[in-house]
Structure formats: C-alpha cells, structure tokens
Subunit: 339 residues, 2 copies
Amino acid sequence: MTDKLTLDEIAKRAGVSRTTASRVLNDGPNVRPEVRERVQRVIAETGYRPHPVAQSLASQQSHVIGLVLPRRTEALFNDPYFPRLTQGIAQACNDHDYTLALFLMQTEADEEKFYPRISRKGLLDGIVIQVGQIGDGLIARLLTSDVPTVVAGRPLNHPNASYVDVDNVAGACAGVTHLLQLGHNRIGMLTGDMRTTAALDRYTGYCEALQAHDLPVDETLVSEGYFTEIGGYEAMQRLLPHKPDAIFSASDAMALGALRAIYEAGLTVPHDIALVSFDDLPPATIARPQLTTVHQPVDAFGVKAVEMLLDVMKNGPTPPRRIIMDTKLVIRQSCGAVS
Amino acid sequence: MTDKLTLDEIAKRAGVSRTTASRVLNDGPNVRPEVRERVQRVIAETGYRPHPVAQSLASQQSHVIGLVLPRRTEALFNDPYFPRLTQGIAQACNDHDYTLALFLMQTEADEEKFYPRISRKGLLDGIVIQVGQIGDGLIARLLTSDVPTVVAGRPLNHPNASYVDVDNVAGACAGVTHLLQLGHNRIGMLTGDMRTTAALDRYTGYCEALQAHDLPVDETLVSEGYFTEIGGYEAMQRLLPHKPDAIFSASDAMALGALRAIYEAGLTVPHDIALVSFDDLPPATIARPQLTTVHQPVDAFGVKAVEMLLDVMKNGPTPPRRIIMDTKLVIRQSCGAVS
DNA sequence: ATGAAAGCGCTAACAT
DNA sequence: ATGTTAGCGCTTTCAT
C-alpha cells in the first residue's frame, strides 16, 4: 500500500510532472516555491520514499561505500582495533549519508569471490580496504579497476595508492625514547606480525630511537608476538632469559600477554621491567598496572579514510593522497615514570 | 572500456538476443548447450560482469542484507561479543551470496535517520536487528514494514517477532548450579545491563538455580555491572563487604573486572571466591585464572539468524520463527573444581 | 519554471 | 529454444 508509491504517483497527486517531482525530491533548482511546497506536502502526507535502487541506476551512484577487511577470523575479534576502525568508518559513512557494506575476507580464496562483485562499478561508489597480508593482491587490482579505492594503513609496493595511516615510526620512536629517558638501556621489543607494515614501521621506530641514543639493536631482545595477547605472552617468555630492563610492545594486546609472562616469572612491572605499548585501546586501561602506551586516533582515522575516499570519488585518483596521522604518548603506570 | 560492457553487447557478440544472454547469465533453462557455451565464452573473454543495481531493479531483490546494531559506541567495542556476532553474520551472508550492509545506531535519533532508508523495500532484502534498549522502537516499526526482519536476541514485547537467542536462563542456571554443587551457598551475581533481555534472563537463571536448591535470593548479593569490565569491577567492590563465597558473572568482561576487585581486596580466585561467568569469549582464556564460563555459540548464532531471515524472506513472516540455542558450561580454573 | 522523452542495464511474461 | 516487448522507478538532457 504505502509501497506501490512511486514518484509518478506523487507527481500526479501534486499535479506536476515527474521531472518536477524529482527536482523537489532532490532539492533541485527551478521550482516555484509554492509548487515545491505542494509537492513536499504530498510527499510528507503519503510517506513516500524514493526507491534507492532506481535512484542508483538512474544516477549511476549507489551511495554505498564498501569496507574490505582482509583478516583471519581470530585476528578480527581478538584485536579490539578492527571493531573500532569499523565503528569509526561506519560513523563517518553515516555522517556523509552513505551506507556501509562490509566485506570480511577470511582467505585468499575469498578474493576471487569478492573481486567481481566489488570491482564492478554500480554496487559500490568506493572502497576502503584495510591492508594486511591477505588481500594485498586485491589492492593492486582494485587500484586499476574503475572503483575509487583508498587504503587504510600503508600498503607495501603500491606507490600510487591513496592511503591514510598513523605515524607508526614516530609513535614507536617516541615510546622507546621515553623508556630511554627513564634510564633503561636493555629495551626489548615485542613486534607485531612482521608481514604487516604497521609491525614493520613500529620496529623501525624502535630501531631509530635506539640509534639516536647510540645504542645497537640487539636482535636477541626482539621477538615476534603477532599483535595478539597469546603471542605477546610467548614472545615475552622468549625474551625473559635475556634480562631486558624494559619492553616496548607493538600493541596493547601483546602487552597484556607480556604482563602475564612477567608476573609468572616472579617479576613486577614497572619495578623489574618497564613497559610501553602501542594503541591505547581498552586493554590499556584494564591492565594492572595501567599501560603507558602510544595513543593512535582510531576513530579519527576512520573518518579521514572516508573523507579521503569521498575526495578520490569526486576528483579522481591522481595525484595519490596521503595522510599520516600523529600519535601521542600517554603516560600511565607501566613505564614507571609516575607512581 | 571493460566497463561499457552491457548485456546487450554480450548478446550481440554472441549472436543471440539479450533474453538468451540473460538466461545464460542466470543459469536459466531453455538454452541449447552449444548456444549457452558460446555466450559463456563471450562473457569470459570480455570479462563481462552484470550491473548489480540494474539486476536489483529488474528483479526486485538486491541480494543485500542489513545488520542493525543499536548500541552506544563504548558498548560496541568494549564488548567482544559484537565483533564476533558481526563476523558470524558476515560469514553467513557470504556463504549465501548476500552482501552485508552495516548500520550502527548510536543514538535514538539515528533511528529516525535510518528508518526511512532501510524500511523501504529495495535497498535491503532483509534485516537482522540486534536487540538493545536503543532501537527497540525500531523493531516494532520494522516488523510492520515490508522488509523481512529477524531479531538477534529475545526482544521484549514483540510477540510475533521471529528471533534467535541463546538459552540464557538455562545457561545461567547451569553455571550457578555448578557453584552450588561445589558447596557454595553465598553466591553473588554480577548482572548485565538490566534493560536487556540477556541480562534479565541470566538473572532469572540465577534465581531458578538458587530456588531449586531451596536458597533464597539475597538482593544484597546482586549488583549491576552493565556487561563491562569496569562495571564488573565496581559491582564486585559493592559486593565484597557482603562476603560472597562465589560469584556468577553475566559476562566474561565483568568477570575480568571482578577479578581485579577481588585481587585488590587481597583475596584470591578460586580459593576465597569461586567465579563462574558467561560468554566464553577471548577474555575467558586470557584471564588468570582462566574462567569457568557458560559457552554461547556466537558464530552459529549468526549463521542461524541469517538462515532464519532467508526463510522469512522466502516464506513470509508468519508464523513467527523461534530458535533458542543451547549453551554449555566450560569448566576451567576460576570455579575451583579443578586444580 | 516546467515537461516530454530518452535512457540507466537488466529481468520476465508472453509470444512464437 | 529463442526473441519481442514491457517494464523496474528514477534522473537527466533538451525543448519549450
């Protein structure tokens, strides 16, 4: 009933042509105020809503943005980062009147399934794709497709990709420098999954900080923790025999695992080992002691990604856009700087 | 180039009518094998992909399912439940060749913004909406709209809604009964947000277990923790003066908070206070001691919700469907049953 | 300022 | 088995 309502019907009831009705609907120009009002009243009275698909077909834009998260199941919900990123992007889509379509790619095989769907102009007006080992092949293909694409995180080997990232190098460097200034000189690191640029860049920041203080990078003090709690736990266990006096963890989740390992070894944080991590997500304040950590603006990150995509959609992919967002060291208890 | 490709073009190149080309595209009947093959070859050679929006308009179905999560920002990423639910639903959509559109409703006001979009047949073939205080008004409206809707979780006051839920009552009852059998008789409870049915039902299960053992419900031993870590922490602090010998927590996250409060009070789990919770999400195995908890099948839950929706889409909303999924007590360390 | 007409790219009922 | 003919509901030139 309220459903068979079409723009033609509205036009008829308002005594105008469908064109004029369309103009009113889209707040277009060239409509006499009184006519506009009349049409609007009919729209309001009937509760008419335009058929979004018909609009899409005619206007050649769907007002739908796709978010592609290439990530294994476990990584996806063990890491508080993704829900938060998704939330930020969803919010931004909302604010710009776009609908968000979510694509979770669990395996490389999913790529083949998704690509035809999303690369075809029509369903999606644009795509935000998160970097990650899975799906990095997709990035290349997407960039040459006719769907505007923006990458969340720094992609490897895609020089003309538009992307937004946080300054992982500077952030990590700041975290490690803080530990150095507190007088530590055997600073170990728990790295993330080294197949990701986030992990690589944070490691780079760690090295830079040490080198700036004329300290060598001791590889026996570096262990891969894959960004997860359990990974951090195990990596920390590997590091303990080498007696670090401080640890920089590439994620809060790993820091949680490190805390466990340290306690089980009969040591305490920050007394025996000082700890600084990266993220500033909920685990940071849940942990005891609370984590000193490099804050990254995840929400703003999502907003920036969407805004960049909108820009690319409007003005084309060249030149490639680039936004590197600042991080900020948040000092809490785990570093020992405050009591 | 590869984009101006339309079904007409394919038909022309294959020397058939557009109808026949369409038949081949949709694996329809009544096409001679040789013709079918010829068309398929042209499709393959040209890399043709049908325009999904045009298909939607003509066929009156979008192959898009909407997931509506009415939840405040904080709740959304402090609780590992939602990412996991989303993941399960996304996976199920995938498997059934549907695209997932995500709608995060942060405020009641968002309702007004979303409703027109999603209630209009066209964009969405169906909707899965998660229950929650925000958005419960939406449920009523959606149920009377012409978009097939299924609720994730038991909705309050919507007798003819189709929904899938876990057996919160039985699950909670099993958890508390376990504590009773271990000999505890001052069992406190940390409840979730009591405006949600999940929290209410788990409380009901708690009461039932006590009553089955002829124990009264002592309200001084019950405190609301809103499902969050910090909420559980504070609720536990309120309970400690009343000397419970065991605690049933309505979520793993709250149990984490409770652990903190208990340790800070100089007590240990399970020695001084035994602990059983609900969820069996990642926090359960990260916590020390590991949590004895009522496992709920979140992934399967999402799958069931999608399958129910598909059923409703196909066969109409009546009679209302109902699926209550079983839970299972997972015994770990926090209850003290094992060493 | 308004409307007629031509699509947008596809599906489907109806011939043949 | 194949093609013809209408749409699906809207936007958008192009006249007027």
